[in-house]
């Protein structure tokens, strides 16, 4: 899906390129915290020819604001301009939209069915999967309950970090694997030790929520890398450029795969390399 998606995107952009070059530049303004990611992101936008962009220093002169992260997204709403949030929580976008902001977002995290597709390939024995969802999670309880696939998903609502340990101790042994969405409150560095060591003791692998957890010891995760976010941002910008409307919020369509080979091997998972995994995911229904 990842490779195929990127290919389609590039073909589509290449096909549009001649006509777009003749069009007017789209003035944008980027709001982001200082740091290497901001610099890389801006550099990538500047290098992109499609759509034709011009980055302006004054947000009031921009036709579209791009805000990276929840904090900048909330700040940008006060400027009362069309706004695209990048790597923003679903709840932040939903809250802003309830306030009738002219905004959409590229949500932090990846789609539930993408993570599940990877889990199914790597754990063909798995049937019962627990999904922890909190108030700030990238996935809503409805998304989990609406899942219609082969796996049996059990929603584990967790309201706060304080109850996370008890919920894990009570339920983790009932599942073949645990799936975590991106959630800045529940699944930060402070809770990684609790979650991962509990999962190791009970021999229940954890998938998700992001690259950081994989590095810490979860088996694998699809995540929105910087390049994925840039590519998805360009799609949104192109849509806005051509229609002067914001594209609907969503996750990145072409997430990156991270696998902790040592953990995957320990659990005897079906994994050879990233490319083979990606191919198997593409081939899966």
């Amino acid at each position: 899906m990842n490779r195929q998606g990127r290919l389609i995107l590039l073909v589509w952009l290449a096909w549009l390129a001649p006509s777009l070059c003749a069009q007017t530049l789209l003035p944008i303004h980027v709001l982001a915290d200082e740091g290497p990611f901001r610099d890389s992101f801006i550099q990538a936008l500047d290098a992109a020819a499609i759509p034709p962009l011009t980055r302006v220093a004054d947000p009031q002169q921009a036709e579209l604001l791009i805000a990276i992260g929840d904090r900048q997204f909330r700040r940008a709403q006060k400027l009362d301009k069309p706004l695209l949030g990048v790597y923003v929580s679903r709840s932040a976008v939903a809250l802003a939209q309830r306030k009738r902001c002219q905004c959409q977002g590229i949500w932090a995290g990846v789609a539930l069915h993408d993570q599940l597709a990877m889990l199914e390939v790597m754990m063909p024995l798995a049937r019962r999967v627990g999904v922890i969802v909190g108030p700030e999670s990238a996935w809503t309880p409805g998304m989990v309950q609406d899942y219609q696939g082969r796996l049996g998903l059990t929603l584990l609502p967790v309201s706060s970090v304080e109850v996370l340990g008890d919920r894990l101790r009570e339920r983790l042994a009932d599942f073949d694997a645990l799936l975590l969405p991106v959630d800045g409150q529940l699944f930060g560095p402070d809770t990684a030790k609790l979650i991962l060591l509990t999962s190791y003791r009970l021999r229940r692998p954890v998938f998700g929520p992001d690259q950081a957890y994989v590095q810490a010891g979860s088996v694998a995760s699809l995540y929105a890398s910087g390049a994925d976010l840039v590519a998805e941002t360009l799609v949104h910008l192109q849509f806005f450029h051509s229609s002067r409307r914001l594209r609907r919020s969503g996750f990145v369509h072409t997430p990156t795969i991270a696998v902790n080979e040592h953990v995957a091997n320990s659990f005897d998972m079906v994994f050879h390399d990233i490319e083979s995994l990606r191919d198997a995911m593409e081939a899966s229904p």
Partner: protein, 693 residues
């Protein structure tokens, strides 16, 4: 996104070797995926234990292919992998949280008195095949590793009761808690039943039992690198035992044998993590067991066959001397007695007592073990893992009836297991265990395993191993004496005058030559482990040659110490787990084994075909149904075939979880279990309620 980047930087890998997730831990003492382990492994986790409906721990081992788990002697279970003799479970090592449950005095594993309740168990790993290369002598045919629940993973207190027919009365209470730097748990349990219920040869079988256990653990995380684990517990039991045929020939039981057992243990383990790839573990434990079987018998006069004072000659000094003079031949002893003047005088003296001769006796044994082990686990690069260690063990056995005293054995051991990824899909496991002790001298047990991951999720293995079982202290140092402890009047007051010595002992005594060699096994296997969609399969073909076996009887009445026994097994085994849907689990095991023996008793528990099937169905969030089928064809010419059914209901009342369950065990035939006296007249059933707060 910035926050995301920061979190990547902040989160350290949390997988020191001690915490590394692993499907199996037992075969080589290394955390390994099943596809790389140098053995066939069966894992039974808590979900499977609960689905089996088992009341007692030994019962769940029927889910292991090739494993015999039956109550052979009334209420005493025998659990044996590739079973041989019916009453012996001396050829397999059982670990409970790393502590050996193999008792050195009489080479046995006492499943009744194990100080743990089935509800305390998180998982059981069974290494099928010799594993002396990792655990030393007596990891002979297999290793069962019972791992209790980690207190850090328990969030509720539990109270459970269950009762059913045939005197089933069980209770269980457990508590758990957490501290700033750790967690603790403690449990207390009691279980009781009346054993087999069908009378045999017109009398009730004496095999009721009552067992209480206590088990506690405290985990204290000293800091990020050091963890301290303390465990303590014990058990006490009261087992009604069946009358011995040998004793029945001599007299009449006035009090049926009753075995009283006590066990205590304490262990401390320190885990130190140097870094992500280097870990040290120091474990020390002590355990004490005491078993006493009391019985009281009125003895017949061996010359007249009638009850009377003449029965006392069986405990007379003169008959003992004749027995020793006649090379411990009972027939020759009595033939010589007829013309022996001293014996005639003793017989005449006894007649003057003019009262039946009755005596209480006891078979007693106390065993102590102190064990210290240092284990170092090291990951060298991506491809090499090494676990090595040293062990010092002191066993002490005291017994008037078996040893006529106390015997100590100290063993020194060193071990190492190396796992090397030779080429990416090929893993080599090399292991060895060197040991030296007072009884058996010096030995080395090697193992070689080669695992080839042909494709992700599919692997083949070849394993070659050798192991030994050292003679137990009784086998090596037996000096039996059955003492007359509680004599009837007037024998109690005039023991020396009437019997010729005080204390008086039964005339038969056995002495071990002290020259027995260890039993040996040589084994190889070819195996396959694979994962498909929802399906896990493990199959193996194996050949095992067991030589130098101590196959002949070694009890106080019959004692033939020699190493002439030989058993050859060859066969195949399979285990399959299939999840056809989210709410169904089907688990099948089967074994087909050809066994050749040179002494018939070695084949009594060797079933040519055995199988188990377990189906668990989660009907809804609250209701669960499971059913199991077990087959062993045959044990001692008797086919064992049974189905179990369990219904469970879980629901919540406020913050409390309630679980109701009903279990029925139905034998599919009326054949006895191994021996003629072990028969069930009716189905077993019980109802249970567990409350978790």
């Amino acid at each position: 996104m910035v926050a995301c980047v920061q979190s990547v930087q902040a989160m350290e890998p949390m997988m020191p070797l001690a915490d590394a997730p692993a499907m199996v831990l037992t075969p080589a003492r290394l955390s390994q995926p099943q596809s790389e382990a140098p053995a066939s492994v069966t894992v039974i986790d808590r979900n499977l234990i609960e689905a089996s409906g088992a009341r007692e721990l030994y019962e769940v081992l029927r889910l292991v292919p090739g494993m015999s788990a039956v109550k052979v002697d009334g209420n005493v279970p025998t659990v044996a992998y590739h079973g041989t003799q019916a009453r012996d479970s001396r050829r397999m090592l059982v670990l409970l949280d790393g502590r050996s449950q193999y008792q050195p005095g009489l080479a046995r594993v006492n499943w009744n008195d194990m100080p743990v309740d089935i509800r305390d168990v998180e998982r059981i790993e069974v290494t099928r095949g010799p594993a002396a290369a990792a655990y030393g002598a007596n990891a002979f045919t297999a290793v069962i590793n019972i791992i209790t629940r980690d207190p850090r993973d328990i969030s509720k207190h539990t109270l459970a009761i269950q009762g059913g027919n045939n005197g089933i009365r069980d209770g269980y209470a457990s508590a758990a808690g957490r501290t700033d730097s750790g967690a603790w748990r403690a449990s207390l349990s009691r279980r009781a039943d009346e054993g087999y219920d069908e009378s045999f040869e017109g009398r009730e079988i004496n095999d009721a039992k009552r067992i209480e256990t206590l088990n506690g653990e405290w985990v204290h995380e000293l800091d990020g690198q050091n963890t301290l684990i303390l465990q303590a517990g014990g058990s006490q039991s009261r087992l009604e035992r069946q009358q011995e045929a040998g004793v029945q020939d001599l007299g009449s039981y006035q009090q049926d044998p009753v075995q009283q057992g006590q066990r205590t243990f304490a262990s401390v383990q320190w885990q130190h993590t140097f870094n992500q790839s280097h870990q040290l573990q120091v474990t020390s434990y002590g355990q004490y067991t005491r078993d006493v079987t009391d019985f009281s018998v009125c003895y017949r006069d061996p010359l007249t066959g009638q009850f009377g004072p003449g029965g006392g000659v069986l405990f007379s000094r003169e008959l003992r001397e004749l027995y020793l003079e006649n090379d411990r031949d009972v027939g020759a002893t009595f033939a010589a007695a007829q013309t022996d003047p001293d014996f005639a005088n003793r017989y005449a003296t006894l007649q003057a007592a003019n009262a039946p001769f009755c005596a209480g006796s006891a078979l007693d044994i106390e065993e102590e073990r102190y064990d210290l082990e240092i284990q170092d686990t090291l990951q060298m690069g991506d491809r090499v893992r090494l676990v090595s260690g040293l062990n010092l063990r002191h066993d002490r056995v005291s017994s008037d009836s078996y040893l006529s005293g106390t015997y100590d054995n100290v063993s020194y051991r060193a071990f190492g297991n190396l796992a090397v990824d030779l080429l990416r899909p090929l893993t080599l496991n090399l292991g060895g265990y060197w040991e030296r002790d007072r009884i058996s001298g010096q030995h080395f047990s090697p193992r070689l395993g080669l695992n080839w991951r042909a494709a992700p999720g599919h692997s083949f293995r070849y394993v070659f191993s050798k192991a030994l079982r050292t003679p137990d202290i009784y086998e090596d140092q037996a000096r039996t004496n059955i003492r007359a402890r509680e004599l009837s009047p007037p024998f109690a007051a005039n023991t020396e005058a009437l019997l010729g010595w005080s204390p008086a002992n039964f005339f038969i005594t056995q002495t071990s030559p002290g020259t027995l060699k260890p039993e040996r096994i040589r084994s190889w296997e070819l195996g396959y482990y694979g994962q498909f969609s929802g399906l896990e399969l493990d199959v193996r073909y194996f050949q095992e040659a067991l030589t130098d076996l101590l196959s002949h009887a070694l009890n106080p009445f019959e004692f033939e110490p020699n190493n002439e026994g030989r058993v050859d097994h060859q066969g195949s085994e399979a285990q399959l787990s299939w999840r056809p849907g989210v709410n169904h689990l089907l688990r099948l095991t089967g074994a087909h084994i050809h066994t050749r023996v040179n002494k018939k008793t070695e084949g009594r528990l060797a079933a040519r075909d055995s199988a188990s099937a377990l189906w668990a169905w989660q009907l809804s969030d609250n209701w669960g149904l499971s059913s199991a089928y077990y087959l062993a064809n045959d044990y001692n010419d008797n086919v064992f075939e049974r189905v179990d059914l369990q219904v469970r209901l879980r629901h919540r009342v406020g913050g409390t979880e309630l679980e109701w369950k009903g279990v029925v065990q139905h034998a599919l035939n009326k054949q006895p279990v191994v021996f003629q006296e072990n028969r069930y007249q009716e189905d077993r059933f019980w109802l249970g309620l567990a409350v978790r707060i």
